[in-house]
């Protein structure tokens, strides 16, 4: 995953009744290991999976994933 993309999945899981990685994975159709990799910022999910995660927590996509645009512009200069 690009270093400028972060996520709040861990926070949202605990806010939603301490949902486990396995349960979240089951609800969006991926394995527990894939959720762990997404949370750790090691794997970028597909757009569809990202929307499914947001739907599980009932929040907009940008409350789950954040993109730091300044990071990219500083790389380009």
């Amino acid at each position: 995953m690009d270093e400028s993309i972060t996520n709040r999945i861990r926070f949202l899981r605990f806010q939603n009744g301490e949902m486990s990685q396995a349960e979240l994975g089951q609800r969006i159709g991926v394995t527990r290991q894939t959720i762990a990799a997404i949370e750790a910022g090691k794997y970028s999910p597909s757009l569809a999976a990202a929307f499914r995660i947001a739907r599980v927590f009932n929040v907009p996509l940008d409350q789950v994933f954040q993109w730091d645009a300044t990071d990219v512009s500083s790389k380009q200069t």
């Binding site: 290991q33 990799a37 090691k42 794997y43 999910p45 597909s46 999976a49």
Partner: protein, 141 residues
């Protein structure tokens, strides 16, 4: 450890057990005739192939018995991405090896030397394939 990482380790183990002794024996025997056909070479290769298949068969039965749920689960998008990356890496090794074996070696080698060189390249490509799978799961990538 994810089920698919375990199966990749199993494939690496099967290749090591089957083909390291095979290539060691072939190398030690390199002074003897390498002309075609050679029943000894064919028998050696058959033994290596059977050993590899036996290890894979027993290993998969054991792994499926240990985690039946995970074994039945279809690969998710990250598994597919890892598979795609590993096959892509192995492809370059295989194509490079085949160019070497098919286009360069015929000028200075013949018979079983070429066949065994092709086998080395195939095994090497498979090692890269499963090696990338293992490394990807280890790094959580």
């Amino acid at each position: 450890m994810p089920y698919r990482e375990k199966t990749a380790w199993l494939s690496l183990l099967a290749m090591a057990v089957a083909f390291v002794p095979y290539f060691a024996i072939v190398q030690a025997d390199s002074h003897s005739s390498t002309s075609l056909p050679s029943l000894r070479q064919l028998a050696l290769f058959a033994v290596a192939a059977v050993v590899q298949m036996a290890i894979l068969g027993v290993g998969h039965l054991y792994l499926n018995h240990g985690s039946p749920g995970e074994a039945r689960t279809p690969p998710d998008e990250r598994d597919v991405a890892i598979m795609r990356r590993s096959i892509s890496s192995a492809y370059y090794v295989l194509i490079g090896g085949m160019i070497l074996v098919g286009c360069v070696m015929p000028f200075n080698s013949s018979g079983w030397t070429i066949i065994n060189a092709a086998l080395v390249m195939i095994v090497l490509a498979e090692v890269v394939h499963y090696g990338v799978v293992v490394a990807s799961y280890r790094r959580q990538a």
